[in-house]
């Protein structure tokens, strides 16, 4: 969560933010992906069900474009992010509370 907090909150220019230098260890990658699904869900609800924050979609694009593809759980998380943005009913079982979410994201849907 801290890592993600740093990414989102401290990133100077989220529009230009790119995941291309992000090369995490497998465990961290899995945790980040899971958390981003939760943030996507939250961000989507926060924008009256219109948009998942673009930064999170870009994470999915970056991860799905990798060769070789990332572990299956990360692919599932990326697909979940896409499904949320497409307004599919994706069940959400995240551990983070809504309060935590508010703290974590100063997210805006661009």
């Amino acid at each position: 969560m801290n890592a993600i907090h740093r990414v989102f909150i401290r990133s100077v220019d989220r529009r230009r933010f790119t995941w291309s230098d992000y090369k995490p260890l497998r465990d961290e990658y899995i945790v980040v992906a899971q958390t981003l699904v939760q943030l996507a869900q939250f961000g989507y609800q926060r924008t009256q069900r219109t948009k998942v924050p673009r930064l999170i979609l870009r994470f999915a694009l970056y991860s799905l474009s990798q060769d070789p593809p990332p572990p299956t759980s990360i692919i599932v998380d990326c697909l979940s992010i896409i499904a949320i943005d497409l307004d599919c009913d994706v069940s959400y079982t995240g551990a983070a509370t809504l309060d935590e979410m508010f703290v974590l994201c100063g997210l805006s849907p661009f």
Binding site: K51, A60, L64, T72, I75, L79, I82, D85, L86, C88
Partner: protein
């Protein structure tokens, strides 16, 4: 994984079916994000996700699923995609963001050369070909033989980008440079329609020049007739008024319609003029020496290559590769020459007898005699008939 995949494929299908362009556009980023995964899946023999991606991509009224972050997805498509994926998807993504356009054209052309033809594939290849040709610096990278895909004349979807940019002057120039009348005619048949306003005035100027210069001559009659028929249809459709046309172009106004009509009428007039310049009144003529006065024949012959035109005192002769006549009568009635087997005279591929409008009782015979492979001698003789 399967559950979420099914959710997505189902949703994309519904989005495409709803024909709600606003919704489609608002979801273009999510749809594009899916592309690399769909490419991997299709390569592993599971095309469902790629097909699901194509539903909204084709349904969108915007010409492409634009997102300025798509280089990664396009790069994955080109490096990992199957020929089918490359051919079907590339026209729908922002491919011109990739640095090496020449390499992209090469990969795309290679993919197109190994894929079997279907209507869907034909449409995509023609769409992409026109898109590429609209970028001046990429035209030299296009392999010449890929232009022949246009002769299959796949009906282009109304909302495809190739159709939109396909009437730009770069494209018209590229097609004309091929000096292939089949490709040229097919190209016009693809990009002219009541839904296309020929707004690029330089492109329109090139088209007019092409009709005057490339499609004049006796041998071009079939091509001209085909184009005139299409233009008649287009003008008829345009006469239905703005209301009819607004279904695919809501922003179209009365002035736009007036301009479109004027342009298409101009094209038609150019073709009719060319037709008038070169037409003979053709008549069936029995093959018999009786009644033919052959004295004082002006006789002239030359070697003519397919698709090259030659001037004779009676008009311009040009070999046509369109459907050969099957009988003498049919050949006589045809305004163009045939090059396929028509063994009326020994060693002659085709014979045509035409009555010259003026002076009266003057006829022209044209014999097409093969001399070498792909090389014919045309003998034109003029004689009086009483």
């Amino acid at each position: 994984m399967e559950q979420v995949s099914n959710l997505i494929t189902h949703k994309l299908k519904k989005l495409a079916e709803a024909e709600d362009d606003h919704s489609l556009q608002s979801k273009r980023k999510a749809i594009t994000t899916l592309l690399p995964y769909a490419v991997w899946q299709e390569r592993d023999g599971r095309p469902e996700m790629l097909d699901a991606f194509l539903h909204p991509a084709r349904a969108s009224r915007e010409k492409q699923l634009t997102w300025n972050r798509t280089e990664q997805a396009t790069a994955t498509l080109l490096s990992e995609g199957t020929p089918r994926a490359i051919v079907l998807v590339l026209p729908h993504v922002l491919w011109d963001q990739l640095a090496d356009g020449g390499d992209l054209v090469k990969r795309w052309a290679t993919a197109a050369s190994v894929i079997s033809y279907t209507n869907e594939v034909g449409q995509s290849v023609a769409d992409m070909l026109l898109q590429i040709a609209s970028v001046d610096m990429l035209v030299p990278s296009i392999p010449v033989d890929i232009w022949s895909w246009l002769t299959k004349r796949p009906p282009l979807p109304l909302n495809c980008l190739g159709r939109y940019v396909g009437t730009h002057s770069n494209v018209v120039k590229a097609v004309r440079a091929l000096k292939d009348v089949e490709v040229l005619t097919s190209y016009f048949l693809l990009v002219w329609s009541e839904w296309d306003d020929l707004r690029d005035h330089r492109g329109f100027g090139q088209m007019c020049a092409s009709l005057r210069e490339d499609l004049s001559g006796v041998g071009m009659g079939d091509y001209r007739m085909e184009l005139i028929q299409l233009l008649d249809h287009i003008l008829k459709q345009l006469d239905r008024g703005v209301g009819h046309l607004k279904q695919h172009n809501p922003e179209l106004g009365k002035y736009d319609l007036w301009k479109m009509k004027r342009r298409y009428k101009q094209l038609r007039e150019l073709l009719l003029e060319a037709e008038k310049r070169t037409s003979f009144s053709v008549t069936a003529f029995p093959h018999t020496d009786s009644g033919i006065n052959t004295c004082g024949l002006p006789r002239r012959s030359c070697v003519l290559l397919p698709s090259h035109a030659c001037s004779f005192p009676y008009g311009t002769a040009c070999l046509s590769r369109s459907s050969p006549p099957t009988s003498f009568l049919e050949a006589s009635m045809s305004p163009c020459f045939a090059v396929d087997a028509f063994p009326f005279f020994p060693h002659t591929l085709a014979t045509l007898v035409m009555r010259v409008s003026s002076p009266p009782h003057r006829y022209v015979t044209i014999l097409i005699i093969p001399r070498q492979l792909d090389r014919f001698e045309i003998v034109i003789s003029c004689f009086n008939f009483k």
